[in-house]
């Protein structure tokens, strides 16, 4: 460069400028049409297919939208009895998991990528030996399986290798419930509560509205009994007696915070009140005895319509006792043989066999015992080294995968054939929405390999299951089952068993000083969803915590130890210790702490590693859900803890923002909309002649805070993830947030209030925008024009509802968090919604793309829009159908009818913003006998 003269440099510079100016055109774009156009495809118009997605081994029926071959959205299948047209957050989040670049993409040997053929070769060699010795030493470890095909294959496998064994490891298994049922009925039985038929639901720590495969069904059932409408008020009542806060407790009409010992005593007292003989004395305090008497009185007054549910942390005897109570109450509970195969034992049995060197070939599929095993089992390299051949099969190279000799990548449920049973027993088929992205194989395919057919097609194997005697579907029926997403009449029959035996209950143990209760994580489940950034950043229903977990305790215990939220403690339980941040949360019994499982992963993807703390190690085999004698000591180290609770606070009087009403004292007419007559400076809008006035009404009474709507909104509207560092700067991007309000004083009951954009008719955001980016359309939608927005953030500051979100960085546009910017991740985006750039404001649009689509469709068919033509993503997902959306010009529309209800109210009505989003207040139905003592 030394010979570059100044003159020459200037020449080159000007030549460059000239070239840039001349070449500054749009790059040419190519159009690639099909060579042979597939039937039924219309480019750019999504197709919907019915399928089934797994959670904890059970299936939830879904409809998947495929946009030009890419699955981009999951919604509930109305024909499927376990989803009833709704989804949960895990189903919604599957779309992101499908495109996760951290998914395992190739087979591995000792961590190094290898060809599938070498795995096949190694397995085939071993199988040759195993065939000769009847499968001695062949061991299978899976997660819970309800798939009729997989269960059929395992039965076949047992026929071929009589000495093989199959173990099931479900870290969230309710072991006490199964042994309690054995105690009560003498046979393995699963009790399935029909929550929709329960007028009185009493939970002893149980969380039927919490995360799990039955969440959608239970929530819908709860809402059926709770929905308050003029002339048709369902008068269900929910009593929650629990030691740690839960979503069920949040929605309870009466919630009592009791220690685990007191809950056992209450169960005994209830049984005694129902004339159970030979029970030890419950020794309840006088006040508690009165409450129990009132609850039992209420249950007796509703024969056949009351259920008592016990939680996993209660001992088996108490589960047996609740069976006895439910029988005495003639409770609406279906008894049936367990849907998931029980196998030859659990993880502990496999560990014993490994220690005794009785395992030759071990296939681990769909579970991650190295991470999820209780602390007194170490499922480590030394233990696994005792088997001759270990094969790991999962969607990720997990903690367990890293210790196995071979790894085979699993296919995502959206790219595989299969079948599953829903929680209520109905079978449905999973069909692939897309060809496999990588060289993955399903469990079905692997089991078929063990049966000697490595190259069989999954479709043929699943189809064969449904051609067997008993489940024979003709080709027409099979196609119908695929189309509908349900195999009709496939639920197993309920069992008619004799009355349950009354268990022998030991006298109550003296109360423990402190107990740690472990809970399923409401957004990460057992940890298998931990690499999903949508779920990591989804605020937990009660704590609003994101990117991690923390130790919950009540304020008295915290003060005694001199702790406040955010402090870090050293938690010791079962002889093992971890560091964990503290969160003070109402609703914890004295001496009781809670911590969720599923965090603190060591391997399994860029998103999940090191987020939160792993609580699995604190468990013991004997008592996986409750650890007695846990102790804490303040630590000088600081662990981060993130929550969105205080990020968007509405300024105003609590009772105005979140009114709660009592069913008996409900006003007969809707209170006058408290709109003040303050003169407005805004130009008047006249919507009287518009074809539509879009509006939404949200029923806070039936909202259980489950987050299905939050995730659905995120998927539908390309809402970006910002990551923990940005969350710490209060830059959460969710268009729809669920605000929580503590009801009563520290009794753990919580009101949930989903807050999307209010689409105010006189919107405060509009006059302050200097560039007209925030304006109204003729139907009253408050629209945000991204291309006009220059990022002043005046609108955000002026919004009293705090619903506007600003792209401080290119969260979706070049500055994505960790692996979210990978090329393949673009595939999950909804092409009907703009991906926002850095520096622009965004917010809920009422799913304007869906409104537009429905309007164009109606206009093409020359008909007016009908109620129900437009459903927003949040409304569509809601398990309790707590959201109504529609056109106020239509007086018969659901949203218009809801606005006529007595509990209808307008958020911050005195500001005269005339919001289009309004609410139905939370109505609770306390027992009149207890209401005086403890009203809402």
């Amino acid at each position: 460069m030394t010979d570059l003269s100044r003159r020459r440099a200037l020449k080159l510079l000007s030549a460059n400028i000239a070239l840039i100016a001349a070449g500054c055109g749009k790059p040419p774009q190519k159009v690639l049409p099909y060579v042979h156009m597939p039937e039924r495809t219309v480019a750019g118009v999504p197709l919907q297919f019915a399928s089934t997605l797994p959670l904890g081994g059970y299936g939830r029926g879904v409809l998947c939208s495929s946009y030009d071959g890419r699955p981009i959205k999951v919604s509930g299948n109305p024909l499927h009895p376990a989803s009833l047209g709704s989804t949960d957050l895990f189903a919604e989040a599957h779309v992101l998991s499908l495109y996760d670049p951290d998914r395992s993409q190739a087979s591995r040997r000792d961590g190094e990528i290898t060809a599938w053929e070498s795995v096949e070769g190694a397995l085939a060699d071993r199988l040759e030996v195993l065939r000769r010795n009847d499968g001695e030493g062949l061991r299978l470890l899976t997660g819970p399986l309800t798939s009729p095909t997989n269960l059929r294959q395992i039965t076949e496998l047992r026929g071929r290798y009589p000495k093989m064994k199959w173990f099931v490891h479900d870290p969230l298994a309710d072991v006490s419930a199964l042994s309690g049922a054995m105690l009560a009925f003498g046979v393995p039985v699963e009790a399935f509560p029909l929550v929709a038929e329960a007028d009185i639901l009493v939970t002893l720590g149980a969380d039927p509205l919490g995360p799990g495969p039955a969440q959608v069904l239970n929530s819908r059932g709860f809402a059926e009994r709770r929905r308050v409408r003029r002339g048709a008020a369902a008068a269900g009542r929910l009593y929650a007696l629990e030691a740690t806060p839960s979503q069920t407790g949040a929605k309870a009409d009466h919630r009592l915070t009791l220690t685990p010992n007191e809950i056992v005593a209450v169960a005994i007292a209830m049984a005694t009140a129902l004339a159970a003989p030979r029970l030890p004395d419950a020794n309840l305090s006088a006040a508690l005895a009165d409450v129990v008497a009132a609850i039992v009185g209420d249950m007796k007054a509703h024969p056949g319509r009351a259920i008592v549910l016990a939680c996993p942390s209660l001992p088996a005897e108490i589960h047996a006792l609740t069976h006895w109570i439910n029988h005495a109450l003639d409770a609406p509970i279906a008894l049936r043989s367990p849907l998931s195969g029980t196998g030859d034992g659990e993880l502990l049995d496999l560990v014993a066999e490994l220690r005794e060197n009785r395992v030759d070939t071990l296939l681990i599929s769909g579970c991650n015992p190295t991470y999820t095993a209780p602390g007194d089992i170490s499922f480590d390299r030394a233990l696994l080294g005792r088997a001759r051949l270990t094969v790991h099969h999962d969607q990720y190279v997990t903690e367990t995968g890293a210790l196995c000799q071979w790894h085979v990548p699993d296919s995502h449920p959206l790219e595989s054939w299969g079948d599953l049973r829903g929680v209520e027993g109905t079978a449905s088929i999973s069909q692939p929405l897309i060809d496999r992205l990588y060289g993955t194989r399903t469990l079905t395919s692997l089991l078929s390999g063990l049966l000697g057919q490595f190259d069989a097609e999954d479709y043929d194997i699943v189809r064969a299951t449904w051609q067997e005697r008993g489940n024979n579907l003709s080709d027409a029926d099979w196609r119908r089952a695929l189309h509908d997403g349900v195999v009709p009449n496939s639920a197993p029959e309920t069992l008619l068993l004799g009355p349950p035996k009354l268990p022998t209950i030991a006298p109550l143990k003296p109360p423990q000083a402190s107990t740690l209760l472990l809970r399923t994580d409401p957004t990460l489940y057992d940890g298998s969803f931990a690499n999903n950034a949508w779920l990591q950043e989804c605020p937990k229903p009660l704590t609003k915590e994101v990117w991690g977990n923390s130790l919950g305790m009540n304020v008295v215990d915290a003060q005694r130890s001199g702790l406040v939220s955010g402090d870090t403690v050293h938690l010791t339980a079962s002889g093992r210790g971890i560091l964990v941040p503290v969160r003070v949360q109402p609703g914890h019994a004295p001496g009781v702490m809670s911590l969720t499982l599923g965090n603190g992963r060591q391997r399994g993807g860029e998103i999940c590693v090191g987020v939160g703390v792993d609580a699995y190690g604190l468990r013991t085999v004997a008592s996986p859900w409750a650890v007695e004698g846990a102790s804490i000591a303040r630590s000088t180290k600081g662990l981060p803890s993130y929550a969105t609770q205080e990020q968007f606070v509405i300024d105003g009087d609590r009772d105005d923002i979140f009114p709660t009403l009592v069913l008996d004292r409900l006003p007969s007419e809707p209170p006058d909309a408290k709109t003040s007559s303050v003169a407005t400076l805004l130009p008047p809008h006249d919507y009287a002649s518009a074809d539509a006035r879009w509006a939404m009404t949200i029923d806070a009474g039936t909202c259980t805070g489950c987050n299905a709507c939050v995730l659905a909104c995120q998927v539908e509207n390309n809402v970006p993830v910002v990551g923990p560092a940005e969350i710490a700067r209060n830059r959460d991007m969710h268009w729809l947030r669920i605000d929580t309000y503590q009801l009563g004083d520290d009794d753990g009951r919580v009101g949930f209030q989903p807050v999307p954009c209010m689409h105010c008719e006189t919107a405060p955001c509009e006059p302050v925008c200097p560039v007209g980016a925030s304006i109204h359309d003729s139907e009253g939608l408050n629209v945000q024009v991204y291309n006009r927005c220059v990022g002043t953030r005046f609108c955000e500051a002026n919004c009293p509802y705090k619903v506007r979100r600003f792209n401080f960085f290119g969260y979706a546009d070049g500055q994505e968090y960790k692996n979210l910017g990978a090329e393949i991740m673009h595939a999950h985006n909804n092409p009907d919604v703009t991906v926002r750039a850095r520096g622009v404001m965004e917010k809920c649009t009422y799913c304007v793309q869906r409104i537009s689509e429905a309007r164009r469709q109606a206009e093409k068919e020359s008909r007016p829009l009908r109620d129900g033509d437009v459903t927003t993503a949040c409304q569509n997902a809601c398990p309790t159908q707590a959201i109504a959306f529609g056109n106020l010009q239509d007086k018969d529309a659901q949203v218009s009818r809801w606005r006529d209800q007595p509990q209808h109210f307008v958020l911050l009505s005195k500001l005269n913003t005339k919001p289009r989003t309004t609410y139905l207040a939370d109505v609770r139905n306390p027992n009149p006998q207890l209401a005086e003592a403890k009203g809402p």
Binding site: G25, K26, P28, Q29, K30, V31, L32, P33, Y34, V35, H36, M37, V42, A43, G44, V45, A690, D691, I775, D777, S778, E779, L781, V783, V785, Y786, N787, D832, V833, T834, T845, V848, Q849, I851, S852, R856, E859, K860, S862
Partner: protein, 218 residues
């Protein structure tokens, strides 16, 4: 004391004053002119295609309907591009050895799509839908120009937002009866204004809604 400024200095100062005001105006006008010019919008630019497909020949001379190839124009946002097999319905019988059709034959033989160059290009934040325009009586040639006279395809309109809004503000001038939507030779009749307003009512078009941002941007 000697003169610091020579007599020409006044002229220099005056020119500088004029340039300081006029310069920005000039550059603003120039920039606007460039942005609106075909150089920037791509209007009237003939794009080279792998196969020199002539709409003039196929549509005007042979009389193929637009929808023979653009099959989904009445159903979807995108009008749709014909798959190779559509070309081959005829060209497996006629002009089977024509050199200019070699890419079509290769496409079928190799099962590889023909890579056409896009002619009409809207920004991704504009959600245009062909089907609703067809349903509401906006003809193909209204936006695509005299397709029947185009041996090679070019973009006849600027496709700017101003151009879109021209029609969205006053659609009556461009509306046709349903049976004339695909006509190549449609010219506005003398009483188009009256005719157009009658069609507005017939199609149920409310122009006041058509300029909402949310109609095109989401």
């Amino acid at each position: 004391m000697p003169q610091i400024f020579d007599p020409g200095a006044d002229t220099v100062v005056r020119s500088l004053f004029i340039a300081s005001v006029g310069g920005p105006v000039f550059f603003a006008v120039l920039a606007y002119a460039i942005v609106r010019s075909p150089y920037s919008t791509g209007q009237d630019v003939v794009v080279t295609q792998p196969v020199p497909f002539s709409h003039e020949h196929h549509v005007a001379q042979l009389g193929l309907d637009c929808r023979y190839c653009h099959t989904q124009v009445e159903k979807a946002a995108s009008a749709g591009y014909p798959p190779t097999e559509t070309c081959m319905t005829c060209h497996s019988q006629i002009w089977t050895n024509a050199a200019m059709l070699a890419p079509v034959r290769e496409s079928l033989a190799d099962n590889k799509p023909i890579a056409w160059q896009r002619v009409h290009r809207l920004p991704q934040y504009a959600y245009f839908d062909h089907s609703i325009h067809i349903a509401k009586g906006v003809g193909c040639t209204t936006c695509h120009g005299p397709v029947g006279d185009m041996p090679l395809m070019y973009q006849a309109a600027p496709l700017s937002m101003q151009w879109c809004l021209d029609c969205h503000r006053d659609p009556a001038k461009n509306l046709r009866p349903k049976d004339k939507v695909f006509a190549l030779d449609w010219r506005p009749p003398a009483d188009q204004i009256a005719e157009g307003h009658a069609l507005l009512t017939q199609y149920g078009i409310k122009p006041e809604h058509l300029t909402d941002c949310s109609v095109c941007h989401r």
